[in-house]
Every structure is written in C-alpha cells, then in structure tokens.
C-alpha cells in the first residue's frame, strides 16, 4: 500500500520542488539548480521502485482523496505508465544535471523561474502519464503546456515569437481535447478511463463517441506534432534556451504519444480502433508522411538546432507509424523508439548546448574539425547518437527501426518498409554532413597547426552527454532484455 502512495508522490514531489524554489532562491544562485536536480533524482528513485513493484505484483490503482472511481480520480500504475514515468524521471535528472552552466549563461539572473517552470512541467508530465481520468489528463496537459511556454519562451525575443505560435496551436489542441472529453461525457456519463472502456464494451460505439474520440486524437496529435500539425515545432526548438529544448524535445511529444497509445489501445477496444474505425490507418499514413517530410526538411537546414527539430518531426512519425501498424511488432517498435528517441534527442540537444557553451555558433557551416580535438567527448557522443538516429547496429536506434520493419512486413505494408528504409538513408545524409565536418580536415593546414584549447573540461557538461551516448549502446545491446522485461508486459489485450 505504501507503494501506491509512491505513485502520487512522484507527481507531488515535482510540484513541491517547483514551489520551494521561489522561496529558497534567495539563499544563493546555485540553489534552484540543486533543488531541481535533487527533486528529479528523488522522483527517479521513486519511479524505479514503482516499476519494479508493478512488474512483479501487477497494476496498482490509487484513488486520490479516498474517493473510489468512477466518482473519484484514480492514478493507474501499470507497466505502460510506469515505463513512461521512469523515462521522464531519468531524462529529467540527466538534462537538469547538465543544465547548470547553459542555463546560467543563457538566462542570467533568471534561473529560479526557469527551474521552477521545469519542475512544474515535469510534474505535469508525470501526472499525464499516471492519471486514469480523462479530465484530470486535460488539467495536467494544460499545466504542462503552460509551464512549457514559460520554459521555452523565456529566452530571446525570437523564442517569444515561436512560443506564441506554439501557444496558439497548443491551446487549440488542448481545447479540441476538452471538446472531445465533453462529447464522451455526454455520451457515456463517465470520465474514468477504465469505466469508459467497460461501458463501451457493453453499449458499443455510437457516432457521438466516435466524434469525441476524433476530437481527442486531433488535439493530442497537435501536441505530438503529428505530420500536418507539426508547424509549431521547428521554430520553438530552434530558438529556445538549449536546456529548455533538451527537456521538452525528448519528453513533450512522447507524453502525447503515450496519450494516443492509452486512448487507442486501452480505452478503446484494440479491435475497434484497428479494424472497425480507421484511426490506426490514418495514424500510420500521417506518421509515414511525417517521416519523409521531416527527413527532407532536415537536410535543407543550416542551423544545427533546426535540423534536429525537423529530425524530431521525423522520429515522431516513426512512433506514430508504430502505433498505427496495430500489431505486436509495431507496438513494441513504437514504445522502444520512444525510449531510444528520448535518449538520442536529449544527447543531441545537450551536445548543441555544449557547443553554445563553448562559444561556437549553431550554424553547421561553422563547425570545423578542430572540435575533434577541443571537444573530444562531445564529438564522440554526437557521433554515437547520430549513428543511433540513422539506425546502425549495435546502437539502440537500429533495433526500434527493426521492430517497425518487422511490423510493416507482417502487415504487408510495403510502402511503410520503403519509407523506413528511405528515411534512414535521408537521416544518414544530414547526420553525416555534420560528422564529416567534425572529423575530416578541410584542407586548411594552418588551422590544424593552431593550438587547441580543450573546452570539454566541465564534468557537468560532458558527463551527461557521454552517459547518454553510452546508454544508447547499452540499450542497443540489451534491447532483448528491454523488450522482454519491460515492453511485453504492457501489450494490450488481443496482441
């Protein structure tokens, strides 16, 4: 029973941390960062405990306030949600650990609100993942969105413009979600996810509910940057503070993907969403389109962060494709890709943060191979992460794409196979462009002879990046363990 309490604590501790920071920030400039890292470390430990317990003992359901569902709000810890919330905690610890110098450099004097907004956003993400109530999910979705706007828009004025566009898109998306929840409440009278699926098993699906789910999926798709609704993403990721991007990029869209998985496979009957309603087909098509579009646009970019942002659009396309395939391999591929992409993108955005901290510009043309000597660890980590994004074994990216390929073959969806293979080649194009600049000399002998200042000397800047790169290799080599122990228990019924 104490472990059930740990479920709610993993949300509440983030909120406690967020409100403690304004009160204690006067004690010193190092305090907000320390509180943020400490809070996320505690929550990571709690989440790991929860995952271990859930995998051995089964799903935990926690009734907040003592009110039993369906009247009350319940938190659900099943293998899917514990996995996601552990991912949140882990990435949060690593990125927040790294963020000490970049945040202080890019947001001088304003680190306290930055960390406060970060913890609020992380707490809200945890809430989205753990809740079992549709309206509670809307509340947490909006808390996460607002904290995210504060986080991403607090830097330069360009960031404010990009965040304003994100605000408009995001609020419309969340309002669509709310409209969908309203329609579902009108149709069934319940807001609890488990109760809803029980009711729909008895009454069948009427047009009112279908429209409600369409609104929900559209709203969540906007938050997830699914293909035609991704327009807000590149500007926001490119212009925001690098620690902010490094936190939002790996996590924000994945949480929206979690909501889609939850709605399509656990609230709706999987047979319904796969065979009777066209939800998964549409998702697959949009995912494939997003993959191709994102990869092509990424090749055209000259700025490192913008390239990574378009690459994110492509990777979210992979996850959407995996969800849309509707078979076991596709599901495993989608969830595994969530884990892998979170680690890869966090590593890549942290690398660009390191480049910024070392005084380098973000433009790809400005990179030259002196970086190989002055920032050896950063360059190496970038290379490993890039290889993982392209999908070369034994890094983790290969295995998630492999599962997606297996899923597409099982469905005889040869177009998807073509899309995945082609996009890996496209990924190779834009990543090798950067790697080539990092490692191959440009014929400028005089520059080679110049003395090199090692800029990779702060442990808090280098260690997280190297850790994530190593983690990618470990996850790749150990992917069988990850799939068997963590992902197989979470497969929905009928898979």
């Amino acid at each position: 029973m104490i472990l059930g309490h740990l479920a709610v604590l993993s949300i509440v501790f983030f909120f406690f941390g967020a409100v403690i920071i304004p009160l204690v920030s006067r004690l010193g400039t190092w305090v907000p960062h320390a509180v943020a890292v400490a809070t996320s470390a505690i929550v990571f430990v709690i989440n790991a405990t929860n995952l271990g317990y859930v995998l051995s003992q089964g799903t935990i359901r926690y009734a907040v306030g003592g009110w039993q569902p369906p009247i009350g709000i319940e938190l659900v810890l099943d293998p899917l949600s514990s996995f996601f919330v552990l991912l949140l905690g882990g990435i949060a610890v690593v990125v927040l650990w790294h963020s000490r110098y970049p945040a202080a450099a890019e947001l001088p004097g304003r680190t306290a609100p930055f960390y406060s907004a970060t913890l609020l956003m992380l707490g809200a993400f945890s809430g989205i993942v753990l809740t079992g109530d549709l309206f509670n999910l809307y509340v947490f979705l909006e808390i996460a969105a607002l904290a995210g706007y504060a986080l991403l828009g607090g830097g330069s004025a360009r960031a404010a413009v990009a965040t304003f566009r994100y605000l408009i898109f995001g609020t419309i998306g969340a309002s669509f979600y709310l409209l969908g929840v309203g329609l579902i409440y009108m149709g069934t009278g319940t807001l609890n996810m488990a109760d809803l699926s029980a009711i729909m098993a008895v009454t069948g699906v009427e047009p009112l509910l279908v429209i409600g789910f369409v609104f929900i999926i559209t709203g969540v798709g906007l938050k997830m940057a699914l293909f035609p609704l991704h327009l807000w993403l590149p500007d926001v990721y490119a212009s925001a503070v690098s620690s902010g991007t490094a936190l939002v990029a790996p996590l924000g869209t994945k949480v929206a993907a979690y909501i889609l998985i939850r709605i399509l496979y656990f609230v709706l009957n999987p047979d319904l969403s796969r065979f009777q309603l066209p939800f998964t087909q549409v998702l697959g098509i949009l995912g494939a389109a997003g993959i191709i579009w994102g990869s092509i646009m990424a090749i055209a970019q000259k700025d490192m962060k913008r390239m990574l942002a378009y690459s994110s659009v492509a990777q979210i396309g992979y996850i959407a494709l995996g969800i849309g395939l509707g078979n076991t391999y596709g599901f495993i591929g989608a969830v595994l890709h969530t884990l892998n992409h979170a680690c890869m993108k966090a590593c890549l955005f942290l690398v660009s943060g390191n480049l910024l901290a070392a005084g380098r510009s973000q433009s790809i043309d400005a990179l030259d191979h002196s970086l190989r000597k002055s920032m050896p660890w950063t360059s190496l980590s970038f290379t490993i992460a890039a290889l993982s994004m392209i999908g070369l074994p034994p890094t983790a990216g290969f295995f998630s794409k492999w599962y997606l390929l297996l899923g597409s073959i099982e469905n005889s969806a040869w177009i998807y196979v073509l899309v995945i293979v082609a996009s890996s080649l496209l990924n190779a194009v834009y990543f090798f462009r950067v790697i080539e600049r990092l490692y191959l000399p440009r014929g400028d002998v005089a520059a080679e002879e110049a003395p090199v200042v090692v800029a990779d000397n702060r442990p808090s800047l280098v260690a997280p990046v190297v850790f994530l790169a190593l983690l990618l290799v470990v996850l790749g080599l150990g992917n069988v363990i990850v799939v068997r122990q963590l992902i197989q228990p979470m497969l929905p019924a009928g898979f």
Binding site: H5, V8, L9, F15, F16, V19, I20, L23, G66
Partner: protein
C-alpha cells in the same frame, strides 16, 4: 489616470477606490469561506481579492498601495498558497489515508463530515492566496516599465 503633483489620481477616485476595495475584500472573504457550500470557492475569492488590490494600485498608484501589498511578496506568497494545498494533501497521506483524503487530516477530534469541511476550507484558503498573489504579480509585472503612477 490624471497625473498631478500629489502623485496619484484625483481625490474622488482615490477615496472611492479605497472604500470600494474594502467592500470587495469583505465580499471576497465571504466567497472563499462559503465555497464548499454555495457558489464560490478559492479561485473566485482569490480573483476578487486580486481585484481589490489592483483597484488600489490603479487608484492610488504603486507607491502608496505598496504598503498594502508589496510586489516582491507576490511570488513567494503564491508559493506558500500552493504549499498549503499540497501540505494538507501530504498531511492526509502521512496520517494514514490517501492523498487529500480529508477524513485523515490531523486536526482535533471531529467527525468525518467536519473533517471534510475543515480540510476543504484550508485548501480553499491556500488556493485563494495563490490565485491572489499570482494575479497581482501578473498585473505588477505587466506595468513594470511604466511610470510609477
């Protein structure tokens, strides 16, 4: 707002603002304390309290109404409001129930209905405090660069 040498608005505006602000504050407390029983509650009462303070800011100018509510207190006070809310939830958790299960709130002997009443009331006060501070903070931040009155 008419700038004049006494650094504020005209006399009629100032006196009226002061009187009306006190009336608004009493009504706001009424709304907060009756929130669990009739329309009202923490957010509405907090917004009314913020309205009263903003009215004072508009009528009297920042320099005079600073004594009423110092702008620097706003964020910490908001944090305290949220801490009251989460603190009640944690107190319930530590006392044996679930998060925010008011029957377990560690208050002197009462039956379950009264525990609910007091638990919700404390939470509403926390919410009202937080909402008031945040709305006033937004107002102050929006006018930071403007001239003082």
């Amino acid at each position: 707002m008419i700038p004049d040498e006494s650094a504020g608005s005209s006399l009629i505006v100032r006196v009226t603002c002061r009187i009306v602000a006190r009336l608004i504050q009493i009504f706001a407390l009424y709304v907060i304390f009756h929130g669990h029983y009739s329309p009202g509650g923490g957010f509405q009462g907090g917004a009314l309290l913020a309205t009263a303070i903003i009215l004072l800011r508009l009528g009297e100018g920042l320099r005079r109404s600073r004594r009423e509510f110092n702008p620097e207190w706003a964020m910490p006070l908001g944090a305290v409001g949220v801490l009251i809310y989460a603190g009640v939830g944690m107190a319930d958790l530590l006392a044996g129930g679930n998060f925010l299960q008011y029957e377990y709130t560690p208050l002197p002997e009462m039956n379950a209905a009264q525990m609910h009443y007091w638990g919700i009331l404390i939470v509403e006060i926390g919410v009202g405090l937080a909402v008031m501070s945040v709305l006033v903070a937004i107002f102050d931040r929006l006018l930071e660069g403007q001239n003082d009155d």
